[in-house]
């Protein structure tokens, strides 16, 4: 059986599974549609949160970023997991007790202000749309590489599948489909890693293999890698290259950005009790950690394998001749994501750190997908990785579309435009909003704005600088009032956006940038790390404005008092 048929069978089987689950878990009420009827077991919810959180970026890009960035990229590993500690202690249990459906709803009620709610809706929609574009592009890439259809056809197939189970099932359908998608993606990520770890170190657990001895040299794997990199003139894998200040602030931004992303927060509205909300964050991190503890091993081992492929006789000998290149190199050359240019005309693949003499360029995003081929693993493993990449992209896209549609139908239509709308009408408008969101995401996936990659920094910046501080102050302070919260959110938002635009260009038009991330405006703070400063500005402004204006009303103090105490959470179930 050829590779194409194998890919088709494995991907087709997983899609049939998702559709079957969607039909089984149809949503009948708004409570089921928005919050899965609040009947989801915390372990199941943790697994769904894991799939929701781990996007095409985690599955496809992260190992490649680590492979080429080494120690500095630990910020991603710590940032994208450490945020769950903040969620579990500072947000999830109290928001579950509050017992409504959306993040803007809490901000609007707690700060008794429609303006605050609208600002939150705007942040949510910008952050979520940005993310969806990335997922849709990922779906297109995975389809075109593995199923040999063109990008557009791949996107339509992906959009149709998401449309089917998200519109039909709402949060309930999405949650149970995500459980299946989690299983597919974790198996697909782990199996090639185990094979490769066994080949290189003899240790079947990749996370332990990373710190074991390489069988080829008898020295630790990382020492071997550092030695090869030094021979070729690359910087050391384990040394710090970035400044400590930027590394610190980048990690902070990713952590509070994670805790402030609405599509992650709403997951904790689906569990039955406050008690479950606390442990569900832990289960989510267990399922995320299974991938995140493997990712650094995949990164380091892929880098080692790549060098060994180009220099089969060691870095002191001549590199591989171009006409003897393996099949996977030829395949990826066709996508343009891997290129060879014979600068010195000797027919050999010279791979070095020097830009003028290096002839081999590998796009970081292909590392995870090409990994099983680089390690010469069997065909079914390659098919599995294709299905895993699609599961990661589709599950995150569905979660984001859910967050967008509930913000539109619940926070805009029901609360501001037509408060008299019936439950049936609201359910209908949520489904229509979801269908429109899918259409917009598909369009943007087909015509990705040139700035798609940069806007990810914006999405995290927005979540870190606006949503996280507003939620935290709403729970931990009774004194922050409507004016303080609105001023804080706007101040955090504006400084962050301005700082990003100063470095990436106004509205991401590159010519208009006054600074660059290699030589930033403030000290060594890159625009991607500025969300943490934006959050600080938000806290400070909200504090001073609130103290200069009137105290919060008694009913708001009572509301804060009630979210702090678990008892009485079941009242929300029938909401």
């Amino acid at each position: 059986m050829d590779q194409f048929t194998l890919n088709l069978i494995v991907v087709g089987a997983t899609f049939a599974l998702y559709i079957g689950i969607a039909i089984w878990a149809r949503a009948g009420s708004t409570s089921e549609f928005y919050a899965a009827g609040r009947g989801v077991h915390p372990v199941i919810n943790g697994m769904a949160t894991g799939a929701d959180w781990m996007s095409a970026a985690s599955f496809i890009s992260m190992a490649g970023i680590i492979a080429f960035g080494g120690y500095d990229t630990s910020a991603y590993l710590m940032g994208w997991t450490g945020g769950y500690v903040l969620l579990a202690m500072l947000l999830a249990p109290y928001l579950r007790k509050f017992g409504k459906f959306t993040v803007p709803e809490f901000i609007g009620d707690r700060f008794y202000s429609q303006t605050a709610r609208t600002v939150a809706v705007a942040c949510l929609i910008i952050a979520s749309i940005t993310y969806v574009i990335g997922q849709m592009t990922g779906v297109g890439v995975a389809f075109s590489r593995f199923l040999e259809v063109d990008n557009a056809t791949g996107l339509y197939i992906g959009a149709a599948i998401v449309f089917f189970y998200a519109v039909l099932g709402g949060m309930k359908g999405i949650t149970y489909t995500q459980v299946a998608q989690y299983v597919v993606l974790i198996v697909a990520y782990t199996i090639p890693a185990i094979f490769i770890s066994l080949q290189l170190t003899g240790n079947p657990i990749p996370a332990l293999g990373l710190f074991s001895e390489a069988t080829s040299s008898g020295e630790p794997l990382l020492t071997t890698l550092n030695g090869l990199l030094a021979d070729l003139g690359f910087s050391s894998y384990t040394q710090q290259s970035d400044t400590t200040l930027n590394l610190f602030l980048f990690t902070v931004s990713l952590m509070i950005g994670t805790a402030g992303l609405p599509h992650v927060i709403v997951r904790f509205f689906t569990v039955p009790t406050v008690r479950d909300a606390r442990s569900s964050a832990g289960w989510a991190l267990v399922f995320i950690a299974l991938l995140y503890l493997t990712a650094p091993a995949v990164g380091a081992m892929a880098r080692l394998n790549l060098i060994n492929t180009v220099y089969p006789n060691g870095t002191t000998e001549a590199p591989l001749a171009y006409d003897q290149r393996p099949e996977w190199v030829q395949k990826w050359e066709q996508t343009g994501l891997l290129t060879f240019s014979d600068k010195n005309g000797d027919g050999l693949i010279d791979y070095t750190a020097n830009k003028d003499t290096n002839e081999f360029d590998v796009n970081r995003d292909i590392i995870t997908l090409a990994n099983p081929e680089i390690a010469q693993l069997p065909g079914w493993v390659i098919a599995l990785v294709a299905a895993g990449g699609l599961a990661a992209a589709l599950s995150t896209a569905a979660g984001l579309l859910m967050a967008i549609s509930s913000a539109v139908s619940h926070d805009l239509i029901k609360s501001q435009i037509n408060p008299e709308i019936s439950e049936k009408g609201e359910l209908m408008s949520a489904r229509v909003a979801m269908a429109v969101a899918i259409a917009v995401a598909t369009y943007l996936g087909l015509n990705p704005p040139g700035f798609a990659a940069q806007t990810v920094a914006l999405a995290f910046g927005l979540a870190a600088a606006s949503i996280f501080p507003a939620l935290m102050m709403g729970i931990f302070s009774k004194r922050i009032n409507d004016k303080g919260a609105v001023a804080g959110m706007l101040a955090g938002l504006i400084v962050t956006i301005v700082y990003i635009f100063l470095h990436k260009g106004w509205f991401f038009i590159a010519d208009t940038a006054s600074f660059s991330d290699s030589d930033p405006l403030l000290l060594s703070i890159k625009s991607t790390s500025f969300g943490s400063i934006g959050a600080l500005v938000n806290f400070i402004v909200a504090y001073f404005v609130s103290n200069a204006t009137e105290d919060t009303p008694q009913e708001i103090k009572d509301l804060v008092e009630s979210v702090r105490i678990p008892r009485g959470s079941s009242a929300a179930v029938d909401h």
């Binding site: 450490g82 500690v85 579990a88 020295e219 630790p220 550092n226 008690r275 442990s279 503890l293 702090r564």
Partner: protein
């Protein structure tokens, strides 16, 4: 329902548990993996140093333990103050 005094005692207990957990959270990530890494460079772990291990694996393991500890500790506190869910 708990009285006003009980609930403020419960809340300040919660705050102090959170503070303790967040100190550990900070030390395991920003401390061991970034700020203190130069001081710990003498301690070797599989071809590199302890700071690198904390940055790529240790911090994540500590985060996991922290969340489950917090959930367990708060469930106990809820029962002590009679504010657990019926």
């Amino acid at each position: 329902m708990a009285s006003q005094q009980d609930s403020s005692a419960y809340w300040s207990k919660n705050i102090s548990i959170i503070k303790g957990c967040l100190i550990v959270w900070f030390v395991a990530s920003f401390g061991m993996a970034i700020l203190l890494r130069p001081l710990l460079s003498g301690i070797g772990v599989g071809g590199t140093d302890l700071g690198f291990w904390f940055a790529q694996q240790g911090s994540i393991i500590v985060f996991l333990i922290l969340i489950f500890f917090y959930a367990w500790r708060m469930n106990k506190l809820d029962a002590e103050y009679g504010v657990d869910e019926e």
